[in-house]
Amino acid sequence: MMGFIWFWLVAVMIVGYVVLDGFDLGVGVLHLFLVRTEAERRATLASIGPVWDGNEVWLLAGGGTLYFAFPLLYASAFSGFYLPLMIVLWLLILRGVSLELRNHLEVGVWRVLLDGLFGLSSALLTIFFGAALANVLRGVPLQADGYFFLPLWTNWQPGPHPGILDWYTVIGGLLALVALTLHGALWLTIKTSGELEDRARRVVTPLWFVLVALTAVSLAATIAVRPASLNNYFNYPATFIVPIGVVASLGGIWLFNRKVQPVKAFLSSCLYLFFMLAGACWGLYPTLLPATTGADRDITLSRAISGPHTLAVGLVWWGFGMVLAIGYIVFVYSKFRGKVDLRAGGH
C-alpha cells in the first residue's frame, strides 16, 4: 500500500514539474523565433520571471522525494544516467544564469549572447527530459547488483545494450520538445498582448499537427519496444480512459485555441501532459526501471522501497509541506495573474 502511494506521489511531483517548468522551458525555446523587438522580449521573459525558479523547485523536491522513498532507484538511475544528468545540470546552470542576468546587463552584445544561450539550453533540456523518460520506458542494461552505466550512444538501436540516445529515445526527445514548445506558446497567449499574442496563437497550429503525429508515433514505438507496457491496461480496461484523455485534451487544445479561449487551451495542454505522463507511469507500474538484461533484474517497487517507518513519517510531513507549498504557489500566480504590463513595475 505504501509502495502504491509513494509511486504515485513521485509521479505527481514529475507531472507538477513538467506542467509548470514545461511552459517556461517552452517560452525559452519560442522566444528566439517569436519576438521582434526588445519590448516584446522583455514582456516574454517577464511572463516567466517571477515563477520559473519556483517551477524548477518541483524537480528538486521530486528528486529529494525519490531519494528517500526509493533509494535503490535513485542510486541506480542517477549513477547509470551519469553523463546525460551532468549535461542536464550544465544546461540548467546556463539557462538559469542567462535568463536571470540579462536584465542586469545593458550591453547589447551580452544580451544577444544570453538570450541565445537561454533559448538553446531550454530546447536541449526538453529533448534530454523526453529522452530520459524514453530511456526509463525502454529499460536499461541492469546488472545483478542493481547498477548499470549507459554510454551516450552505441548503435542507435534499443536492443539489450542501448545507449542514452537511440532512435526510440530520440523520438521521445522530439515529442517533449514539441509538446513543451506548444505549452509555452499557449502560456504566451494568456500572458502577452498585441501582435506577440497573435503570433503565439498562430504558431500553435503547425505545432499541434506535429504533436499529434509524434504522439501517435511514440505510442506505436513504445508498444513495439516494450510490449509489456500494455499489460496493465488490458488487466484494468477502465484505465483506457488515459489514452482517451490524451485524445480529448489534444482536441481541447485545438478547439479552445481556435475560439480564442487561451486559459482553457492552456489547461488542455496541462491535461495532455498529465495524461501522457500518467499513462507512461501506469504502463510501468509496479516496475520502476525495467532491465533489458532480463525481467528478473527489473527494479521493482517492492525492491526499491524505503523502510516502513521512514515512509509513514514521510507521508505526514510531505502532505503538510505540499499543502503549504501549493498555498504559496496559488498565491504567487494570483498576484501575477493577467497580462504582462511592462509599465507596471516590469510585469
Binding site: A61, S306, M322, G346
Partner: protein
Amino acid sequence: MTAELIHRLHFAFTITFHYLFPQLTMGLALLIVVLKSVALKTGSEQWDRAARFWGRIFAINFVFGVVTGIPMEFEFGTNWARFARLSGGVIGQPLAMEGVFSFFLESAFLGLFLYGEKRISKLMHWFSAVMVFVGSWVSGFFIIVTDAWMQHPVAYDRLPNGQFEVLSFWQLLLNPWALLQYAHNMTGAVITGSFVMAAVGAFYLLEGRLDEYGRVFLKVGVIAGLVASILIIFPTGDLHGKYVARNQPAAMAGMEGLFKTENGAGMVLIGQPNEDTGQIDNPIVVNDALSFLIYGTTKAEVKGLDQIPHDQWPTALPLLFYAYHIMAGLGTWFALLMIVSAFLLWRERLYTARWALWALLLSFPLPYIANTAGWMTAELGRQPWLIYGLMRTSEGYSNTVSASNGLFTLLGFMGLYLLLGILFTVLIYREISNGPEPKLPAVEAIQAD
C-alpha cells in the same frame, strides 16, 4: 588517480563553489529584513532604496546559489550511489524536506519581493522579505541536519538489506550535533553578509560618493558584524568544539595536531604537522590551553592520535590542521576588527577614520575563506568515514562511474564555474558601481523600448 579521489574532488569542488553564494544570501536575508523594518517603521525612502539595492545583490547571488545547488542534490546519486542506496531512508528525508518546506517558500516570496513591489502593499513587501529570510534559514537547517547525521548518526536502525532507516523523526531533526553546527554555521553566514555590507559602505565613503548610503551600510554591517563575530567564538564555536572533542576525538586531535595524548595539552597557534616524526614543526604553543578549552581544567587529559588506530586517522591530516587554524585565526581577526570598528562607530569617528575603512574594505574576502575553511575542517575531520563509525568513504562512491568519466565531468564543472565566477564578479562590480540611487527615468524608458 583513483575513482574514489575523483568523486571526492568532484563533490568537494562543486560544494565549495556553491557555498560561496548561500553564505552571503543567508546572511544578507537577515540584514535586508533589518533594512526593510527600519524603512517600514520610519517611512524612509533611503532605507527602502538601500533594501532594494541589497535585494539586487541578493538576487544575483541567489541565482548562482540555485543553479550551483542543483548539482549537489544530484551528486548524492550520480557520484555517491552506494552511499545513497543505504542512506536514502534517513538523509533523503531532510533533503526532500528542504525542497518541500524551504525552496517553494523561498522562490515564491523572492518572486514577490523582486517583481511585485508595485503590486503589493508595503507591509506585504516587508513580509515577503521576512519569508525569504525564513526560507533561506530553514533551507540551511535541513542541509545541516543531513551533514550532522553523517557526522554523528542518531536515531537509526538497519534493515536486513543494509539500508538505514529513521527510528525517530524528531531525534533526527534535533540531533545535538545539528543544533550546535547550525548555530555556528548561521552565525558564520551573518559574518559574511555583514562584512560585505560594511565593505561596500567603506568603499563608498573612501570614494567620497553616495556617502549617506555608505553610512547606513557601515552602521548596519558593523553592528551585525560585532554581534556575529562574538557569537561565532562564544558560545557557538566553543560548544561545537567541545562536542567534536567528545564525539570525534580523532578529528579534534587532527585539527589541533595533537600526536600524543597529554594531561594538560597545549594549543598550537601556528606550526606544520609532520606525520613522519609525529611532531609539530616550528610550533608556537600556549601551554595547557587545549585541556582548559575542552574540559574547563588545565590538567585534563586530551586524547592524541597515538590512541587512535592508524586506519582511523583523518586521511588529509595537514590540510585538516591548516583548515582549522585558518578558520580560528580569521575568527580572531573578525572579533578584533569589529570591536574596534564598533567602538569608532559609537564615538562617531568611524566614517572619517580612513585606516579603519580600509581595513573593513580589504577584509571582505576573509569571511568566505573562514566559512570554507570551517566546512573543510568538519568534512576532513570526519574522514576516513562517510557516515562516522558506520561507513567508510571508500565504500560509498559510485563504482559504476569510472575515474575517467568522473574526471570528464569534473573538468566540465571547473570550466563552467570559471565562467560563472567571471560573470558573477562583473555583475556584482557593476551593481556596486551603479549604487543604490535609482537610474534616471529617461534611461529606464529607453531600456523598456
